[in-house]
Subunit: 224 residues, 2 copies
Amino acid sequence: MAPAAPPNPTPETTPSGHQLFTRIRLATPSDIPHIHKLIHQMAVFERLTHLFSATESSLSATLFSPTVQPFHSFTILLLEASTTLFPVSTFDSNPFFKPLTEVVNLRLPFEDPERETFKSRDDVTVVGYVMFFPNYSTFLGKPGFYVENLYVRECYRRMGFGKMFFCAVTKEAVKMKYGRVDWVVLDWNVNALRFYEEMGAEIVEEYKFFRLTGKPLQASGHTH
Amino acid sequence: MAPAAPPNPTPETTPSGHQLFTRIRLATPSDIPHIHKLIHQMAVFERLTHLFSATESSLSATLFSPTVQPFHSFTILLLEASTTLFPVSTFDSNPFFKPLTEVVNLRLPFEDPERETFKSRDDVTVVGYVMFFPNYSTFLGKPGFYVENLYVRECYRRMGFGKMFFCAVTKEAVKMKYGRVDWVVLDWNVNALRFYEEMGAEIVEEYKFFRLTGKPLQASGHTH
């Protein structure tokens, strides 16, 4: 999971305010270059670039393969922002996910220093992503979701987008009658720890998280 | 994850020994009653029966639905034991998983106090299970496995079955070119902690494991 800040305070609603139109939609294969850059930014934020080896083609092959069905397998939702209303598009009739929209009122005109890098089309820029997939609780006898990453680009933080993403996932979990939503947070990321505790989530203190990767995984897999 | 003990020492191979034939195979819908009992035993072992609400029908509906394809979704492998050789069966030609067999040599004839409860057919009893499903590392740009439970019934512990299960999962992960295998262990389960460290796995100490479930999940999912 990732940096997330409490929602913005009372939104400015006077006609003199500046509006930012936002939309959460399902990612498509053509979003891969932006997704790859966002994941890298997240690795930089988490000080884990030594673990980053994803390429556009590895992401493309694994996130959009025929066995991958949104919400039943690996799923990415993107958040886009625009200073003008989103026109009607094919996303609106997506069979898996109807986009969620929200209008944010700002006091000042918005400046995005990476606007060109994250431009998706015309006036639209990609703000962040949430990546999740089903997990399963044998004790509950039903699936849940595991959230691998939730990331909002720096200049868009403290505007309520973390909460918007988070609720998009929990809303889907509730709709699918899933039993729980799990994720991990780095212990030094105090803003994220506070944010998720405010969302009503609890830390399972007695869990030790184990990982087998790299050479020890290869060795173990070749034992028999 | 679950109780697991180091593999048995040097197996007895003299003709006077008693042989236990074992087989790891993919679970089928007809195994649900045994799986349900095994999960309950695991909840008892983990002192978490207050979290146990799975029923045979909830397991059946979620583990064997049409969207569930072994290794690409929720997967259960069972370990069975028999004092006689397993006859040739349909499991041997399963397109998803070829059974793994092993013969364990014992000094004394084997006594299973729950033999009748876990009898699968004729001379065959169910020993334990491993339940896992794909997860995804955005940093690696590829899937892995998350192991939800690994459980061996009490009278079969310290005979190497934990390792046999664990290697069945890592072997499949390596075969599928997956990047990692993750799981959690309860901090008081010192036997399991030692076992997995001996397998070459590492604890990711900086991870705080978050969970949103029950009423707070329902509340969050109905926010927007």
